[in-house]
């Protein structure tokens, strides 16, 4: 048991933009909310520079949280050529939706596209599952 686990992982503020991915939506059609869908949904893609700055490593997991929810997802660097500092990409799914604000200003439309969260290393925590 290392001393590190008692230290709180540093947190950084980022914004999440959601997008559609044909392989992920196909997985939803073919496996329901099963493993393949989870593999493709419970992932955040970060700017490479951000990952360095935040000392987050490819293949590890991250805790994403805000006032509306808290989830653990896989962490990967994005393959975009252009930097997107401060912005993480996630496919649209129950994982990203767990972080969407319930404030709508009475409009009936939640703010699905710009989700503010804090991100930190998830250490040994398991990826959040909705498939119980």
């Amino acid at each position: 048991m290392g001393f590190g686990q008692f230290l709180k992982a540093p947190e950084y503020d980022i914004k999440i933009i959601t997008y559609r991915d044909v392989f992920q939506s196909t997985a939803l059609e073919s496996s329901g909310c099963g493993d393949e869908y989870a593999e493709r949904s419970a992932v955040i893609l970060l700017d490479k520079g951000d990952m360095k700055k935040m000392v987050l490593k490819d293949g590890r997991k991250a805790v994403l949280k805000n006032n509306f929810g808290r989830i653990v997802v896989h962490l990967r660097p994005s393959s975009y050529e252009e930097g997107h500092e401060g912005i993480g990409y996630m496919t649209n799914s129950p994982w990203s939706n767990a972080l969407v604000s319930s404030e709508t200003g009475g409009s009936g439309v939640p703010k699905f596209k710009m989700i503010k969260v804090s991100i930190s290393d998830a250490k040994d925590e398991k990826v959040t599952s909705f498939d119980e």
Binding site: S25, H84, T104
Partner: protein, 414 residues
């Protein structure tokens, strides 16, 4: 022998050129469809079970229990519809009228405002067949069909040879993408990709309207007037232009007006149309059917002969404000598509689901009723994303009932 073609219900494009092979009464091979379509047309990996309170139940009992819940509720909501046949939608409207229910569909937090503007005549539209035959400038704004509607570009917009566009994408057509990220569609558009910061869509809409009105277009982000004018000019020169509007654009607009103003301006100086990139195969049908019945496309409450309408009747506000005490959810999975902080309210009320597949919502439902999959196991009609009605027939036989029939049975028990 003449070939038989089927329709794919995998998305709002309703591709009508699908060929299938059957093996032992089941779809074993699907040709021409995209990956997503193939997955839709083959059986669900986890079909929904017929259950009451999590225990297996007979279909008759589930239907009686569903009717009881709806009858006893003071304020039920009927929601979903995007993956239902038009007949099922009409039957659901009847159930809503009989039970004095709220009625809303997924367009309420998706393409609703755009479809509404089209049905009211404030935005000019066209069919995808016209786009195929005539369009020379195709704009994808906040849309990534390469992932959401994989055959959009190849079947109708950019790649095909159309009547007046025999040289297809190589010479006859220009595809433009405006988005906050370099999506797969943006990559196809090459140097016609205009990247904008999140929430900057309204600014660019206004700048383009200004540019087309002879004013200097300005935005607060790093896109200079020259670049905006270059884009405006491409739109102006179009012989037949179309803007395909995705959720990225819809979600970033508080109001639809800036888009309506740009469309009006474009039609003063050019020839432009708009098509909403509707996701679910018959969400637009639900808008049309409710509109025909009430004059509204979504978000209504039936009380006697009266129809109430407004944002307060939207599924999101109804759940958020805990206004409803029961929910009938048809072909939709709000537990995964709504924000968790709002969807959780469904856990506190009796929920009835009608769905072919086991979903996060059906698993938590008090009553889960399995339905046949429209498109593969049951036929019907649906309205394509461009407003064209498409008829489809079943590919295989099933002993599961279609959603329309289940709703009719529930109606009979009310």
């Amino acid at each position: 022998m003449e070939k038989e073609y089927y329709v794919c219900t995998g998305c709002g494009l309703l591709c009508d050129d699908i060929e299938i092979e059957l093996d032992g009464g089941k779809v074993s091979k699907v040709n021409n469809a995209c990956l997503k379509g193939v997955a839709r047309l083959k059986e669900c990996n986890r079909p929904a079970e017929c259950s009451i309170d999590g225990a297996p139940a007979s279909l008759d009992d589930a239907i009686i229990e569903a009717a009881r819940i709806l009858k006893e509720a003071d304020s039920p909501v009927i929601f979903g519809m995007g993956n239902s046949t038009s007949q099922a939608q009409k039957n659901a409207i009847e159930v809503a009228k009989r039970t004095g229910a709220y009625f809303d569909d997924t367009s309420s937090f998706c393409q609703g405002p755009v479809v509404e503007a089209i049905l009211e005549g404030s935005i000019r539209t066209c069919t995808l067949d016209e786009v195929k035959d005539k369009a020379d400038v195709i704009v994808y704004w906040g849309a990534d069909p390469s992932n959401s509607h994989p055959r959009h570009l190849s079947k109708y917009t950019y790649f095909p040879r159309g009547k007046e566009r025999q040289r297809g994408w190589e010479e006859d057509r220009t595809a433009i993408c405006i988005d906050v990220r370099k999506s797969d569609t943006a990559t196809i558009c090459g140097d016609k990709f205009y990247q904008i910061p999140p929430q900057a869509d309204e600014e660019l809409l206004n700048a383009l309207t200004n540019g087309l009105s002879g004013k200097v277009p300005k935005v607060s982000f790093g896109m200079g007037p020259k670049k905006i004018l270059e884009l405006a000019n491409m739109l102006k020169k179009a012989e037949f232009g179309v803007i395909c509007v995705g959720l990225g654009l819809v979600y970033s607009l508080e109001e639809i007006e800036p888009l309506v103003r740009l469309m009006d301006k474009l039609n003063e100086v050019s020839n432009f149309h708009l098509i909403p990139m509707v996701g679910q195969y018959n969400m637009r049908g639900s808008n049309h059917n409710l509109h025909e019945e009430t004059g509204y496309i979504n978000r209504v409450k039936f009380t006697g002969n009266d129809v109430e309408h407004g944002a307060h009747c939207s599924v999101v506000e109804l759940l958020r404000t805990r206004t409803v005490d029961a929910a009938l959810i048809i072909g939709s999975d709000p537990m995964s598509s709504l924000p968790g902080s709002i969807a959780k309210e469904l856990l506190d009320i009796p929920v009835i689901t009608i769905d072919p597949c086991n979903t996060l919502t059906s698993r938590k439902a008090k009553v889960s009723i399995p339905a046949a999959t429209a498109g593969s196991e049951c036929g019907g009609t649906a309205v394509r994303m461009d407003g064209v009605e498409v008829e489809f027939k079943a590919m295989t036989e099933t002993d599961r009932m279609c959603d329309a029939e289940i709703l009719e049975r529930i109606m009979g028990e009310l």
